[in-house]
Symmetry: D2
Subunit: 349 residues, 4 copies
């Protein structure tokens, strides 16, 4: 029985903070699915929304429910939904593409011009229930650890980034070892990367990088990163740069160790314009750069599932904390401190 109201973590107003509230359970339309959330994980984006920074002020329209990484059980389906049943254990692609723009019509829905992100532009999953268009539901295989269910969104980011070019037999630098950077290390190694250099100032994260399979974890503050990576690659530089930090210095350092003719995939979002020596970083080098947004719909999801099902990748080390949804305040603190990597918020009902 689906109740009329539910608990939800709400962004109540155009100001810092969030709060638990009792709100109506969403009503679903004929092509929607209602999911009883079991776990929702916290993304850096949620921290921006919590703190109400410049980006959040420009994008977010309170009051609404954040949360875009989750898994749960289907509680109800709309009358025209096919192939999904009540009781299915699912996650979802929270980028809802318009379906009509140029990109949507040519297989590039991940860069839909009119995308609406659930948990950012509309109600999300920090709640007992979340409403999702049926087309965006992803059924989770029982062979994948249940704990990984809410991680398909960031894990998919990593898969999209790593597989946006050749990776087998390649040397790789990963700049920035937040959860997506950490996942990228594991994906790269599972897909045949020859050597992965993790570059990250936070010691906890460097340790996690090694646990995820990095061959070396370097501290840009003290190791001579560029010199070291060049020496370790016969002075060629790495074949592939996976930029996961969004920090200008890391971006510049990443390009400085990229070999002539190499590939850089950029996922980290700089908060302001970056000064970059395009001539030497990119043009003379004949480099290829991919901007990475979201996950390919749904090619990345199939790849992510296949990699997880094959047992090649363990996401567990990245899950550093588990808290009840109501303790979101503590989760935000753990993330700010740099103590936590990925925090799972569990929903009890």
């Amino acid at each position: 029985m689906i109740p009329k109201t539910m608990h939800a973590l709400v962004k109540p107003a155009a100001a810092p903070g969030m709060e638990m509230r009792e709100v109506p359970v969403p009503e679903i339309g004929p092509t929607d699915v209602l999911v009883a959330v079991e776990t929702a994980s916290v993304c850096g984006t949620d921290l921006h929304i919590f703190h109400w920074d410049e980006w959040a002020q420009a994008r977010i329209k309170p009051p609404y429910i954040p949360g875009h990484e989750f898994c749960g059980t289907v509680a109800a389906i709309g009358e025209r939904v096919q192939g999904i049943s009540v009781g299915d254990f699912v996650s979802a692609e929270m980028h809802v593409a318009c379906g009509h723009c140029l990109q949507c019509r040519i297989g590039q829905q991940h860069v839909c011009q009119f995308v609406k992100i659930l948990g950012v532009d509309a109600d999300g999953a920090f709640a007992d229930y979340v409403k999702i268009p049926a087309s965006n539901i992803w059924k989770l295989s029982p062979t994948i650890p249940r704990d990984f269910g809410s991680l398909f969104d960031p894990f998919g980011n990593a898969v999209h980034t790593v597989l946006s070019g050749e990776i087998a037999g390649r040397s790789v630098a990963v700049t920035g070892c937040g959860p997506i950077g950490l996942f990228s290390i594991a994906v790269a190694k599972a897909c045949g990367a020859a050597k992965v250099f993790a570059i990250e100032p936070n010691r906890n994260r460097r340790e996690l990088a090694l646990r995820m399979g990095a061959d070396e974890a370097l501290d840009p503050a003290t190791d001579n990163v560029a010199e070291h990576v060049l020496a370790a690659t016969s002075h060629n530089g790495v074949d592939v740069l996976l930029e996961m930090s969004g920090h200008p210095a890391a971006i510049r350092q990443g390009f400085s160790v990229l070999r002539m003719g190499g590939r850089a995939s950029l996922l980290g979002i700089p908060s302001r314009p970056v000064e970059l020596d395009l001539a030497n970083a990119l043009i003379f080098k004949g480099a290829t750069v991919h901007g990475i947004n979201g996950r390919k719909m749904y090619e990345t999801w199939f790849e992510a599932e296949a990699l997880l099902r094959s047992g090649k990748i363990d996401l567990a080390p990245v899950i550093t904390h588990r808290l009840p949804l109501a303790q979101f305040d503590e989760a935000m603190k753990l993330l700010e401190n740099g103590e936590a990597s990925k925090i799972l918020l569990t929903v009890k009902r």
Copy 2:
């Protein structure tokens, strides 16, 4: 009969200027070819060298002979040279790749780590004779207008840039209409580009852009370029950006009209680091960016020749002036003034 000495335009010292001198004809080794230069054309790079700007001061080691765009007739061949005969009408790839570095071993000689450019790092073609490794000689088809012979270098740049991604049926913005930008317009149209927007502040160049096939030539100073291009592309932006200027404002404007999921190929060389809003220009957009250096060796040359032989492309409008080599001073002035596009220097003997 090859003489002992020849006339050459020499960069004599670490200071502005060049001068005509009588110098020894180069001696060739067993795998070299000696070419009697017929025409050498002037590149923007030569202007930098002439004026002895910052880049030139860092790279050029006088005294030496500049000039890297040329055509001429084979005057002598080394004893181990095969497939090239005295009397052949030829041009040459002036990037001499090392042949041993990683890139050279995997088919990316155009980004050789140890490349030496004749006319930049060693003696070039502003002379009666020039010495070229046989592997770099390109025999010119008699079906191609003789005047185009010295233009394979910059025309090849354009071909490499345009064909670094899909072009057929695509909308295109070309930022910067120097000779390579102008060639790119013609290449794009000959290869099926649907609509080409040329963006260029100089009026002469905009007129040339239209003659080379641009559908529209826009002045960034007065036309509202971004608004106009978006309106003309159903508010998608262009599929392809070909950046030929190296100017920060043009680079930023180019990215601003690139559609989500589009491709940008950057050939223009910014003289200093560029501030770029990577998040919006590139990352959220899911764009692909190619740094373009030189010409693929020798795939681009085959493509360039095939396009010229098929008669689809006329390079003549770009050739605005013809002068004897000795009048290099005037050529430099015409280029500085923005009056000239491509100037052919002819060698009389």
Copy 3:
């Protein structure tokens, strides 16, 4: 006012022939569009259905209305249809993909496992009205000649085939010059193909091939095709083979003139297994072969429209006949005789 009944060309039973009948106008659902057909063109597939050959016997379930190439005016739209209005001049992609299979979920709807083709598996366009899912409607630009509207289906086949690999600056052999082969010639030339060899036994078609832009049209019965093409390509063979005939001998001949490392795109459908020397035709050659089915949804449609709008391609020479729909018998005869290329059937009401 939409009438209750309409004229339609019906395949009435599991036997040769078709007949004009008065049948109910289709009723549309909430996501459908009803189009008043203006022109429908005849495809080789329709001839197979007419004659009730082996393939037709296995696939077609009479009674039903054939016809899958058409254009017309929107007469009515379902209640949930957006972006399409009554009066719009449209064509349509007649491959209706399931939307749920693996291929549909990863941007390969053109090879949907459960595709239903209107005009083959369900009622098509040889009628006053045809019912089409809104997602499959393609609005035709007024800048494209109205006569070309029904040709987007076969023209799209050609665009898909030609652009399935690199074409600019490439030499090309087209084996088989039915309408799609002829369109391919024009597409290849418009997209920068350097030289196109058309290989076709029928003299009328060879003449059309030259009108569509082929550099040479060769008769496999009398010209020594392989020897000629090799001689004309410096004994390399062509870069690209576009196989449009489905005939075993043509397929083998096509591969015999393909260069080492070349690309073959196969669209012609052999009616039975083909004996092919895979070792020499393909494996030692390091060739790449693309099987081509339908049109990419909807990337090919955008490309096709862009090419037609740019005015680079004239389809008119391929339209050899125009007949009222009721004269389908004559159309079938003209096609059998090899006199006709593309026949437009016009609907009068």
Copy 4:
């Protein structure tokens, strides 16, 4: 000290058999390297040459020394050789490309029109010493097990085949589990393949397939392969077919389990033309097929080395026997019986 004569396994005449002979040590030219062979392994090609079958009769010009898989120590270098020293432990690419044909000039030396294969078209490595052009020498890393040195040629074939398209997260069928098929299984798994089905009639080879990492090893004689693979892939079929047998029935079966839109890479060489249902196997499917010849020069070599150095792949299970070179007769028998997979012939001096 290099002796004047050496022991070599010679193909003496146009008839079955080979014999050990004392022959002159090869004299090297200025760009050659002389290698003291340590191990040479036996390829199926050597068996064809031994038995003097139809292919051998057409290709081989006795007397000469076969053997194209080897490793050893550099004994002498020509006067113009750089970067290689006496004492280096090396293998070599035995396809000697002409360097001048179209393919060689555009980075496709692996399909050189005028390739000469050492051990097939000229003297090879079944001898105390072998002469190799310096450009073809591959220095072996000391971090790779010495035993794997002679296996770079067939291992490189496997790497080239697997990496000719996307493999990460893909399901794969390998038809034929000779040494290259077995290597392919390991490469596919190391590069992220989700599930690998080995299809092979020989029980020993199926067991090796499982040891190399295949998820399932199926017997085409008794297992219902097509039905099984389809059931195990949600009735999609596999994403990737790696055809390693050259047998018509295996090729047809392989295509029958390839999914719509899948990729097939064909390396096995059929001894005669193959009857193939191109319409259903390939065209309707929208499949991509790659013919695979040799190894990309030298991209594949870098990839092969990187994969072996990273420790992801163990080739040891495929090495079933070690014999002195003089016992080649026994090696040939073991291969004929299907008892052996890869046999290393060791050279004692």
